[in-house]
Amino acid sequence: MISFLDLLGTIGASIIGLPGIIGVAVGMATRNWVVAAALGGLVGLLAPMILGGSHSTHVAITPMEYAISIGIGLLAGLVGCAIRHKGASV
């Protein structure tokens, strides 16, 4: 991480990016909190591998980026699961 601002940017980008969006979606697919968190975390892990880095060039993704992405994915999964509990009876 270059700076605190850089950290905030990385977190924000994860929330609006795949980990946040798909994380909520997979969370909504289950009533099981553990499964939701695990699936969200998995999305967080895969997102940088698939979309991250750079296609024309080869810039390594830092462990910190992975950590943030997985963390956000996990939280998003939990949020999705909460939506499922609140908004669906099945």
């Binding site: 270059i2 024309s56 908004g87």
Partner: protein, 235 residues
């Protein structure tokens, strides 16, 4: 509840909206809701992306007069005006293409707005005083990303060293061998450089060394050797 006693009407309105939001609809089918949500999603995403692209235009960047200094300097360079007419605009060098890094850059740029309101660089004197610090911020980003934005357009792989001038070809071969990146040697490619920039650049490299995976095994000493040569040439 205590809230209910102090402000019963407002409380009950919020409560009713909240409850209504989470209760099953009696009149809409699942299909209707899905299609409506799908269309709303497309419209929202399209609008989001469209506005994001607007913030990548040169007009947008220089809509803040503080950015005009850089515009003027850049207009004197090959990236604005050259024999082929292919050019690089502000966002080509300063905003990544990859979604997550682009969003990150846009979020980080919120501080530009804050400093614009604060007037951090509102006069020429203030600007020059802060230039080194701002340049260092850009260098740190470029160094950490192995000059990703430059390499969206330029790549060592496709450079024909036989038609480059010898000095360029020699240095680029050396850059490949030593794992150096564009910004290590090409500071000031689009804007004026403040005094003391080489020392500051060296500082940025030192700061990043070890914390980020830069290129393949870049040695701080290689960059330092190059910078040393530069300062000697300048003297």
């Amino acid at each position: 509840m205590a809230d209910n006693d102090t402000n019963p009407r407002r409380r009950s309105l919020l409560r009713r909206l909240w409850d209504g939001f989470w209760s099953p609809t009696g009149v809409l089918s699942v299909g209707f809701l899905l299609i409506a949500g799908f269309i709303a999603g497309i419209l929202f995403w399209g609008g989001f992306h469209w506005s994001l692209e607007l913030t990548n235009t040169e007009e947008f960047c220089v809509s803040c007069h503080t950015m005009e200094t850089n515009l003027g300097e850049y207009r004197e360079t090959v990236h604005y005006n050259n024999h082929s007419g292919v050019r690089a605009i502000c966002s080509d060098c300063h905003v990544p293409h990859e979604w997550q890094y682009k969003i990150k850059a846009k979020i980080m740029a919120v501080k530009d707005v804050y400093h614009e309101v604060l007037g951090t660089i509102s006069t020429e004197e203030k600007y020059e005083e802060r230039r080194l610090e701002m340049a260092a911020a850009v260098w740190a980003k470029m160094k950490a990303s192995d000059s990703r934005e430059c390499r969206n357009c330029h790549a060592f792989e496709y450079m024909d060293f036989t038609i480059q001038e010898t000095r360029a070809a020699d240095n680029h071969q050396r850059a490949i061998d030593d794992g150096m990146t564009c910004i290590d040697c090409h500071q000031g490619i689009a804007h004026d450089l403040p005094p003391g920039y080489l020392e500051e650049y060296e500082h940025v490299v030192d700061m990043l060394a070890g914390t980020t995976p830069i290129g393949q095994g870049t040695e701080v000493s290689d960059v330092r050797a190059w910078i040393g040569g530069q300062s000697d040439a300048a003297h």
